[in-house]
């Protein structure tokens, strides 16, 4: 079920909204507590109406209120099969595509950058990205040799080009 129907989508969103509303109310209450207990700088004799926690406190009330209203709204929507649909989203090919990109991005940014020179990390990322999305997760027919050629070319020219343009021509420091 890669492409849910409109009715399915409404049901799934209603349940997702319900979950989000719980998170939002929780977040709102946490921020309320943190703002309430934030130092009021009495030692510096500041006016009590100008305490640093004032605006976060007001915002946390707003967030809690909006979160609760969203929860109420989504609770009222008829959502037959909403929970099942919501759980099903995480097993779709679309979810896999998103997770693969996130995985690649995390490996590139948290591991490769700093361990390899920036241009090399960039080339590796571009190469892996194109190879994966033109073979394993391809939309259409797979042409491995052509993909390999394009992946190498774009990795070299893209990664190398960004390095040259930014660091050498525009004198911008890279990670």
């Amino acid at each position: 079920m890669d492409t849910p129907t409109e009715a399915d989508e409404t049901a799934i969103r209603a349940r997702a909204d319900l979950l989000t509303s719980i998170v939002l109310v929780g977040l709102g209450l946490t921020i309320f507590y943190l703002s309430w207990t934030m130092p009021r700088l009495e030692a510096r004799h500041i006016h009590p109406a100008t305490i640093p926690g004032l605006v976060p406190l007001i915002l946390s009330v707003g967030l809690t209120l909006c979160g609760a209203l969203l929860g109420l709204r989504s609770w009222r929507i008829e959502a037959e099969g909403g929970w099942r649909g919501l759980a099903g989203i995480f097993t779709t090919r679309q979810a896999l595509r998103v997770l693969v990109i996130l995985g690649l991005a995390l490996v590139h940014t948290l591991i490769l950058v700093g361990w390899l020179p920036f241009w090399a990390a960039a080339m590796l990322f571009i190469f892996a990205f194109i190879m994966i999305f033109e073979t394993w997760l391809a939309d259409g027919p797979i042409t491995p040799l052509s993909t390999l050629g394009w992946a190498i070319a774009i990795a070299v020219f893209g990664g190398g080009g960004i390095y040259l343009v930014f660091e050498r021509i525009f004198l911008v420091r890279l990670p």
């Binding site: 890669d2 969103r13 909204d17 939002l24 943190l34 934030m38 130092p39 700088l41 510096r44 500041i46 006016h47 009590p48 109406a49 100008t50 640093p52 926690g53 004032l54 605006v55 976060p56 915002l59 946390s60 707003g62 967030l63 909006c66 979160g67 209203l69 969203l70 709204r73 090919r93 679309q94 595509r97 998103v98 990109i101 991005a105 995390l106 590139h108 940014t109 950058v113 700093g114 960039a122 990322f125 571009i126 990205f129 194109i130 999305f133 033109e134 939309d139 259409g140 394009w150 774009i154 893209g158 990664g159 960004i162 343009v165 930014f166 525009f170 911008v172 420091r173 890279l174 990670p175």
Partner: protein, 507 residues
């Protein structure tokens, strides 16, 4: 009046140099390409380009960013017509009539109409920018902390109300989340560090550019790559340059859409997509042939494309005179202006009046470049549409890393980009609009500082927030906006008006 014309002349003259014209040419072309590519938006383009313009002179840097912005909003219409996918969210309304025209074998005419109406829309917006901005800047000099507090709140509330496609509630939540993000770091009144949890990098707060690159760059990559649909590009076999008659028979639609776009642009944080949809709806209501709308109406396409481009110019009115961004991309422009030492806000006409007219000149040059490229490079742009997205998105991610790192040269900002990318993607998937969040991040500090400074001035008495005339008006508009977003209230208010209109008809 004549001073204004003189300054405008100077503004245009200032950019008539080979270097500036070269910047106009490449930046507009890049903007159009960004707009054409589905998944790359104007905001993302401007956010990524801030890095590239970092070492440029301030006027050339803003000129470059402005050209990218305008080019991208225009370029998105190509994708809407040829692929039936809006190149940027601003062009969603253009798909309704643009693509049916292409299917009827009139792709060239549709592109020509979109190009000319984009230019005319920008010109209407520019006209109002040049007229309204100086007066608004002068009026804003009388604004105090009270008014600025309400203006900041007004921006977030109205943006939340108008961009929340699912329910205004989601727009408000996005706005509050943005405001809360702005609360992180050292506050400006007492220099107290809030919500930093001992992380020293959070001391200065969360920078707008990495957050925007994440929310509009990485989040867009994830959204674009999630889909696995491959669309078919419509062929172009007819002429692209429209005749004067084809355009000017719709002069009323052009002027109406331009004025609507301008009005939407002036409202902080509302943006081009709302401008385009509102103009389209108004054109349909006023048209002699409303039944043709959605089936290839030239009038519908003209209305949509005039409306969104008028927003770009008009968004500069609050951006320059009040430092309240008129759209998400304008928020990045404000950040870029600060980086280059230009301070938008009420003092602009006192400190730097030339700059306002330079912006007018930038928009004029960018729209001329759009017109020339749009009518002459059709075949090249069609080739751009055929680039497989996975080959492009891989390179775009690397640009996101560079774009978020380069301004302050901290890996922390790259992690912020990653965080906002994931957060932005989840919010988008759940139909939360991004514009109020961006506006919240930009206006959070202004709102916080002015509320507490106002209270400090009155020794804790909030009365002036409600009794000063301008404050009272903005406050009433905010209350009315929030009330109107409650279905039960809005239904009753609307019923009052329809009953009022129905009564004379019956009598």
């Amino acid at each position: 009046m004549f001073d204004g014309l003189l300054l405008l002349g100077q503004g245009i003259g200032h950019f008539l140099t080979p270097a500036a014209l070269f910047n106009v040419a490449w930046a507009t072309l890049l903007g159009v390409v960004i707009g054409i590519l589905p998944g790359l938006t104007a905001t993302m383009g401007v956010a990524l380009l801030v890095t590239l313009t970092y070492k440029m002179a301030p006027d050339q840097a803003i000129l470059t960013l402005m050209c990218v912005y305008l080019g991208a909003i225009y370029g998105g219409s190509r994708t809407a017509i040829l692929l039936n996918i809006p190149g940027t969210p601003a062009n969603a309304a253009a798909t309704l009539d643009g693509h049916p025209l292409a299917q009827q074998g009139k792709a060239g005419l549709a592109m020509g109409l979109a190009t000319t109406s984009s230019t005319l829309g920008t010109l209407v917006g520019i006209f109002f920018l040049a007229i309204i901005a100086p007066f608004l800047a002068e009026a804003a000099l009388k604004f105090g902390s009270y008014e600025f507090f309400w203006l900041a709140l007004f921006g977030v509330v109205i943006s939340g109300q108008m961009t929340g496609s699912d329910t205004p509630l989601k727009g408000y939540i996005a706005g509050i989340l943005g405001l809360l993000v702005a609360m992180v770091g050292m506050e400006t009144l007492h220099a107290h560090q809030r919500f930093t949890f001992g992380i020293s990098q959070l001391g200065g707060g969360i920078d707008l550019i990495p957050a925007m690159v994440g929310a509009f760059g990485l989040a867009e990559i994830l959204s674009a790559m999630k889909r696995n649909a491959v669309a078919h590009v419509a062929s172009v076999n007819d002429r692209v340059v429209p005749t004067f008659r084809e355009i000017f028979r719709y002069w009323k639609t052009i002027i109406r859409s331009g004025v609507i776009g301008t009005f939407i642009g002036i409202i902080p944080g509302v943006g081009e997509d709302v401008g385009s949809w509102t103009s389209y709806a108004a054109a349909k209501r006023a048209s002699k042939h409303p039944e043709e709308f959605g089936k290839g109406s030239q009038e519908g396409l003209i209305a949509a494309e005039t409306g969104d481009n008028a927003v770009v110019s008009a968004a500069m009115i609050p951006t320059l005179t009040l430092a309240l961004p008129g759209s998400a991309a304008a928020a990045v422009l404000i950040a870029a202006m600060y980086i280059h030492g230009i301070r938008p806000g009420p003092m602009i006409m006192v400190e730097n009046p030339v700059f306002l007219y330079q912006v007018v000149a930038m928009l004029l040059l960018a729209t001329l470049a759009n017109l020339v490229f749009g009518l002459s490079l059709t075949k090249v742009f069609i080739q751009v549409l055929r680039v497989p997205r996975q080959r492009l998105m891989a390179v775009i991610y690397i640009l996101c890393v560079v774009g978020s790192f380069a301004i302050t040269q901290r890996m922390f900002d790259v992690y912020v980009m990653l965080g906002f990318g994931v957060f932005g993607f989840i919010l988008r998937e759940m139909k939360y609009p991004m514009a109020p969040m961006v506006l919240g991040i930009v206006l959070g500090d202004l709102l916080d500082l002015n509320l507490r400074r106002g209270l400090l001035l009155t020794n804790g008495d909030p009365t002036p927030f409600f009794t000063r005339p301008i404050s009272a008006v903005i406050c009433l508009i905010i209350v009315f906006t929030i009330l109107m977003s409650i279905p039960a209230v809005s239904k009753r208010v609307r019923a009052l008006f329809t009953r009022g209109r129905a009564a004379p008809a019956q009598g």
